[in-house]
């Protein structure tokens, strides 16, 4: 197929998108399907060196006494925002969540640490 069919950048598409505003211009081409063959091109763009660094820092649970078990056990495999962005859940749902971390993902959380974790989750993100 013709290489000219291939827009190189999104600005092109932005223009096409704007051009499509007048309702009458709407084109209904039903034929377009599946992958389209295009000519081969040499490899491009190994990214710039500075493209490989993530922003530093991450949110952590507060240093309060009652959040300690979560600081210890719940920000090892993922950041605390995995938890702080969750909705209010029932006690049962939070218990199931902590159990999932232990049984499915192998979280090394001793059984006697679980009640305090669940208490904290219910107090801060529990359904009334």
């Amino acid at each position: 197929m013709s290489p000219s069919r291939r827009p190189k950048s999104s600005p092109t598409d932005a223009v096409a998108w704007l051009a499509a505003f007048p309702v009458g211009l709407a084109v209904v081409a039903l034929a377009a399907v599946g992958p389209v063959a295009v000519p081969e091109e040499p490899p491009r763009n190994p990214h710039a060196a500075d493209a490989w660094t993530l922003p530093a820092g991450e949110p952590v649970f507060p240093a309060d006494e009652d959040a300690m078990p979560l600081r210890r056990h719940c920000q090892l495999c993922h950041s605390s925002d995995y938890i702080s962005t969750q909705p209010r859940l029932s006690r049962k749902a939070w218990e199931a969540n902590v159990e999932k971390m232990r049984s499915k993902y192998g979280a090394p959380i001793p059984t006697n640490a679980v009640p305090a974790i669940v208490e904290y989750l219910v107090r801060n993100h529990g359904t009334p």
Partner: protein, 404 residues
Amino acid sequence: MHRGSRPWDRRNFLRAGLIGTTGLALADSVELPFEFGTRPLVKYPQKRPLIRLTTRPPQLETPFEVFNESLLTPNDAFFVRYHLGGSPPPASVLDPKTFRLTVAGTVGKELSLSLEELRNGFENVEVVAVNQCSGNSRGHFQPRVPGGQSGHGAMGCARWRGVRLADVLKAASPAAGSRQVLFDGLDRPLVPTIPDFVKSLELEEALESGGLLAWEMNGEALPWLNGYPLRLVLPGHYGTYWIKHLHSIRLVDAEFKGFWMNPAYRIPDDPCAHVEPGTAPKRTVPIRRFNVRSFLTSLTSGARVPSGNETLLRGIAFDGGAGIREVLVSTDDGRSWSGAALGRDLGRFAFREWTLAWKPSVAGATAVKVRAVNRLGEGQPMEPLWNPSGYMRNVVERTPLVVL
């Protein structure tokens, strides 16, 4: 919305979230329209500031305005979703000079292909296709469910370029009795007890899917956070199958039982993937193809629209690959519906633009609703359907407006 004093309140969270990051001011956050919906806007490599759901591993959502900018979602605004703590893989393991894609397992001929060999050994093809997270819009579920609490921005549409998955599979001569194809990327769990993120497809499905092994997105190399240097593109299928940093394809002669196929990423085994809210499904199947969705993009919730003037309503619709047949729009909160004009057709897997001229005459509160129908006659429900994992939301969305 926020009750009592909680350690995770907005201030605390943002303060914590900004330690050592980019020095963003408090204003650089957005409120998604559900409880605990405050999210920082954070700049990542090759990305403009995006809505950050989680930090480690990164999950970034596209600000919804972007979908009104262009039909193809720019690479620097495309959403990011990782599962494993060891993500994204560092540059050292993604060196295009040493990178190899292996095809192994129940094959007549094992393959180990460099990017060069992949590019030169097979026909290069392109497809414009939507990628959407299974849990896109999960934050809108009622009752709420655990999981990544996304707004509507865990989706995007791009032009992908690569080689056909089917061509590469055939070159490996699948042995008789091969049943499934497994896909694995270079991202790794942080601890060995977390199951590696591996997805499977039936071999037949993989051969007929129209899938691509893609290295390019909208005319540029894949961004690091979108799978550089190679990813699976599976048009019409949820993003969970679009393995990033893809380096291993394995054929097997049995059903794969990996965690991320079962119990994860399962939906109720019924045509609408739903159960009674609050209940568990009796039988589940792996999530597969998109259902039909449509959005208004030119106006956001609470927008003020002058009466007497013509306003051009605009938005997008898409489905799992049948293609969009029609889009109906209501400007009176669902009482009456008009057919919208469909825009350029970029293919049956792409976002389809729709437009409708609207001249409001009555001042006051109203709402715009949009619903699309695909070429199989499948549409969108007027009431949301529920499942315990918060997958596949496709209710007719409602945008409240005020006519002045």
